[in-house]
Symmetry: C2
Subunit: 216 residues, 2 copies
Amino acid sequence: MKIGIVGGTGDIGEGMAMRLSPVFDVIVGSREKDKAEAACEFNIETLRKRGQKCSLTGVSNQNVVDDAEIVILAIPYKHLIGTLETLCGFEEKIIISPVNPIEKRDFFTCVPPPEGSAALLIKKLLPASARICTAFNTIAANRWKLLDEELSYSVPVCGDDDNAKQQVMEIVNGISKLRAFDAGPLAASHLVECLTPLLLNIARYNKMKDVGIQFH
Amino acid sequence: MKIGIVGGTGDIGEGMAMRLSPVFDVIVGSREKDKAEAACEFNIETLRKRGQKCSLTGVSNQNVVDDAEIVILAIPYKHLIGTLETLCGFEEKIIISPVNPIEKRDFFTCVPPPEGSAALLIKKLLPASARICTAFNTIAANRWKLLDEELSYSVPVCGDDDNAKQQVMEIVNGISKLRAFDAGPLAASHLVECLTPLLLNIARYNKMKDVGIQFH
């Protein structure tokens, strides 16, 4: 099973690739293939120095969609529509959205699109057969990258396709100490997308760094 | 310092009274004073059998507002406007809102009023000098009542009056193992009020009971 990361040279995408590629076959995309290749070389070397083997290849974003069974959209919300418009071939794929429609005003807040959430906007933009799940919304880019630290967080997962959701939850549970929780259908994603601005506010007002969440 | 609970004979209010009254002076209100008195007698006896002393008195909801410096609105969202319309004297008081505008559709979701959150609706309904804070939104009624169990949860607190927020955070930190986190101004309360439907969905879809939250 191949996992692809669209926007894989961004802050979060790069961290995800470092955590996922020792466990799964990972391909990482960028608008420019060269950039993805260079990032992967650097990350493979970083992992090698730590004594970790990995399966990590840099390609174009379109190649990610073409070749991966599971596609993570590691794209900032503001670039979501623009990026998806340049790509095709999402039919039948499992799509993971960690995207949060966040704005910084006096404080961080959630400003969802008319569809209700980034996840439902993605659903509107992609073919009906794409099986979209929300996951990884609350893991900060810095935490992905701090490879010496375990990720001891809960990860709510939303989606309408039970089989896809099960596969996504298994991937989540395969990374560090992440623990997946079924958070309901895709239409419930706005409740998950609201978590990140809350965590950013808590970090800011309590002088903390990269606050995460656990359910129990 | 006297803490009052409006709606203190409801499920959550009663549990709060049991946890708060061994630590603080607590008065508990109901629409009918007799009902509040009876509930308090029962709760005092329960605590006495456990060897716990408490300061707990049953009064009317209006007496709660008159006599307490800090007033917790332990009211279901659907009764919020109706209850507040029957009460007066909130000037200068510290008001704690644990109220969540939740609806159960196919899943639990947040349906905020036009003001943006239950907290901002309360702000509109009460005099301008009332110092409103959001707190205790995510602690389930059952958990309040299970006195043998510690409450090991994080409690986000929103509010615009720094002194009031500080006092509320101290109260939170005085109960069991609750830990208060400053979650920003009152206008950020909608992010907190969205947590409870998320936790209810997680409980439902993962067959868990009374899911709570920790930030770290």
